[in-house]
């Protein structure tokens, strides 16, 4: 009497659901991705110029001094007067920087030691918005 053969398990792998799995993966990644649209402002920072050149241009260049609690705006060597940020923007717009050459667009921004980046960022982006070129000055 012939013995009944044991049924062999099939060696094929079911691939029919692979496409479902990979489409699910795609959908999952598309939904979990946060599309970041970076925001910021292009700021012109001229490479450090020799001190004499800076001194020469200081007579009629607008200069801003940023402190922790106030912002001073002055022209050249004169002591500046205290302004709020919107006032500062109004004054800088009057200079009409976009129509000027790069040298004339210079705005000297001095910053005190205790000023946090957030505050400095607001002033510098404001200057850049009006078309000014930010000249870095270290306070002695």
């Amino acid at each position: 009497m012939p013995r009944p053969k044991k049924e062999r398990p099939s060696a094929e792998i079911e691939t029919g659901s692979f496409s479902d799995i990979s489409f699910l993966l795609i959908i999952f990644f598309v939904l979990t991705t946060t599309l970041s649209k970076p925001t910021g402002r292009l700021v012109d920072i001229p490479s450090a110029s020799p001190p004499e050149q800076q001194k020469k241009s200081e007579d009629n260049t607008p200069s801003i001094k940023v402190f922790g609690d106030k912002v001073l705006f002055g022209v050249g060597q004169k002591e500046g007067d205290e302004v709020t940020l919107p006032e500062l923007k109004g004054r800088l717009i009057k200079y009409a920087f976009p129509s000027k050459s790069e040298k004339e667009r210079m705005v000297v921004v001095e910053v005190a030691d205790d000023v946090q980046w957030d505050r400095y960022f607001k002033v510098v982006t404001l200057v850049a918005e009006t078309g000014g070129v930010v000249a870095l000055v270290e306070e002695e």
Binding site: F23, T39, G40, R41, I45, V115, D118, F121, V124, E138
Partner: protein, 131 residues
């Protein structure tokens, strides 16, 4: 006489290539996406009214809340910032460098970076949120 039925056409769509298509899509999206280079940097963005949307960063410089410097997500020392930026920018001088600094840092931390970027002669985008 019996009416002959028209043979119905089979409505099975061949779906075996769907998986290949899906995998191709996955590979496409992975290659086409631009991964954030500053994802490992813990820095809180500053905010200002005068920011707009800008292009994605090709080169990014960051200073985290503890004052550590990063170029392309790799930590560098203060003295190495300029050379690392010059190396990362390469010949694409017209491409702006994104600068992300933690909002609470003081001058001693951000001024050296600004000076280094000025010395490197690159365009700089100050990264921050819109107020």
């Amino acid at each position: 006489m019996p009416v002959r039925r028209k043979k119905r056409q089979s409505v099975i769509l061949p779906t075996s290539s769907m998986g290949d298509i899906a995998f191709l899509l996955i590979i496409f999206f992975i290659l086409a996406s631009n991964f954030m280079k500053t994802a490992n940097v813990e820095a809180e963005k500053p905010a200002s009214e005068d920011v707009d949307s800008v292009e994605d960063a090709q080169v990014s410089v960051a200073v985290d809340s503890t004052g550590k410097y990063f170029v392309q997500g790799v930590e560098v020392s203060r003295a190495e910032v300029e050379s690392a930026v010059v190396q990362a920018v390469g010949e694409h001088r017209e491409k702006p460098v994104h600068l992300l600094v933690d909002k609470s840092l003081r001058r001693e931390h951000y001024m050296p970076v600004l000076e280094a970027l000025g010395a490197a002669g690159v365009k700089v985008v100050f990264v921050g949120d819109k107020l």
